[in-house]
Every structure is written in C-alpha cells, then in structure tokens.
C-alpha cells in the first residue's frame, strides 16, 4: 500500500484519538468514575489517569494527523489500544458491565462491537508500525544518503 494511503489511515486513527481525548477532557471527574468502574485502579489512580490519559490521546492524535513524531505516536497508539482491549476485555469475565468511557462519560457501545472495533484499530496501527520499520530498499537508501551528502 502506498505511503499516502498509510498517512490517510494514520490520520484517521489520529482523529479518533483527538475526538476521544477532547471528549474526556471536557469532564475529567466523570472520566475518573468511568475508570474506577473497571475496578482495576484505586480512586487516586483513576483520578491520575483521568487527568493524564486524555492529553496523551490528544497529543498522540495530533502527532498522527500532522505526521510529526509519527513513529512514537504509532507506538503509543498501539499501546493504548492494547491496554484498552485488555482492560475492557477483562470486565465481562469479572462480572462487570461498565460503560467504556471511550468517548466521554457513559458511552456504551456493547462489549463485542467495542472489542472488535478496537482490535481492528490495533491491527491497523501495528500494520502501520510494521510498514514504518520495514527496511528501505537499497535504491531508496542510496538516494537518501546522496541527498544527505
């Protein structure tokens, strides 16, 4: 797949992060409650994460959209998707029925649709990462070295 298609997909993922982060920043107290409902962190941990995570999403989303700090943003995006899948996936086996809190307080899209959706986003992010770290062909590398002098 071409570079431009990769950028479009990355920008799409970036926009999702930007929207998700902004929705959470609007009401961090409600987001802290959503995190607490996962019953993984104590209240202070939930508060710290509610204050911090939305901004990580916003910066990560902006980096993906603007293609600045791109590789780092892809790594963070993959980590966030994996973390969310692990946390949300563990709720049903533990007998919990929680709102995911992905796009603000009370957002509830159903267990499997959410996990499948995030699984697809994680797969897309990993694919972008793989493409980014793929070794350059000798021709391209030689061209870059030549331009770099």
């Amino acid at each position: 797949m071409s570079r431009s298609s990769q950028r479009i997909i990355a920008a799409g993922i970036g926009v999702i992060f930007l929207i998700a982060g902004m929705m959470k920043v609007l009401d961090p107290a409600a987001f802290a409650v959503d995190i607490l409902n996962y019953r993984i962190l104590p209240w202070t941990g939930a508060v710290a994460l509610a204050l911090y995570l939305p901004w990580v999403e916003i910066f990560c989303g902006a980096a993906l959209v603007l293609h600045r700090g791109y590789r780092g943003a892809l790594c963070i995006a993959a980590g966030l998707f994996a973390m969310f899948i692990g946390a949300y996936g563990s709720t049903r086996p533990r007998g919990l029925d929680v709102a995911c809190g992905c796009f603000g307080h009370g957002a509830h899209r159903g267990y499997w649709p959410l996990l499948i959706g995030d699984g697809l986003l994680l797969a897309a992010t990993l694919w972008l990462l793989k493409a980014e770290f793929r070794p350059l062909s000798p021709v391209i590398r030689a061209g870059r070295e030549e331009r770099a002098g």
């Binding site: 009401d27 019953r39 901004w55 791109y70 709102a99």
Partner: protein, 136 residues
C-alpha cells in the same frame, strides 16, 4: 528505533503539563478524595446516614435499605424534595444502586453535589448487592 522511543517520551512528557493544569484549574476536576464507602462504614454512621436509593421505582418497591428514600433520575424533580426535606447539615448522604458496576448512584450523587450543593454525599460500594450480602 531510538527515534521512536524519543518521540514516545516526548509525547508522554508533553502530556504531563496540561494534565497538571487540568488537575489544578479544570472546573470539573475530580477530587483526590474517594467518595465511596463500604457497607460497614456507612452502617457505623447510624442515624446520621441518610440512605438514598438511586434504582428504578420497581426495584425500590421490591426491597430497599430500611429508611432509604428513593431518588432516581427518571423522577428526579418529583423525588428530590423528599430527600432535601429529610436532610439536615449533620447528616451524611449515602447513595446506592444495584451493584458494583451500576452507574446511577454516582450520577445521582454527583447531581446532589453539583445541582443541590449538598455536602457529604457518598456512594455505597457494591450497592444493594453488597448490602444484601452483608445481611447474610
């Protein structure tokens, strides 16, 4: 690879700055103090605890904590006066819903704090299920 790590760290560190600002100045910043109480703690408050049942009317009619007043979001305007009348400054309000994962007790507790400006509003950890389990 080292470039990616540097970029990761930059993004993660940059996010700390507005996060601190959010924690200090955001009008809807969460309190660091937890508002959850266990059944044992709430019961130890005795008569100074004002129990508020945030579940639907049908659930309330099927059974509730003795002395609890109903207050759900469906009939907020009808039920709120009863809670406000029963409250006095020395009492602690303990809101509960059905179980550990229910959300309504938190929503009702929040509205009591923000819209009615009531202090000392707590959420019962585990809700009605925890109360019933504590009776066995």
């Amino acid at each position: 690879m080292s470039l990616a790590i540097r970029q990761c760290l930059t993004i993660l560190l940059l996010a700390v700055i507005p996060a601190i600002g959010t924690g200090v100045w955001h009008p809807k910043r969460p309190s660091w103090q937890s508002d959850e109480v266990t059944v044992a703690v709430a019961r130890s408050w005795g008569a100074s605890a004002l129990w508020v049942d945030a579940r639907a009317d049908a659930d309330f009619e099927n059974g509730h904590i003795p002395g609890a007043l109903p207050l759900n979001e469906e009939r907020w305007d009808d039920l709120l006066p009863g809670v406000v009348d029963a409250w006095d400054p020395g009492r602690k309000i303990v809101v509960y819903c059905s179980s550990l994962s229910c959300q309504t007790s938190r929503d009702v507790a929040r509205r009591l704090r923000e819209e009615v400006s009531l202090p000392n509003v707590f959420v019962l950890q585990g809700g009605w299920e925890a109360w019933e389990a504590a009776q066995k």
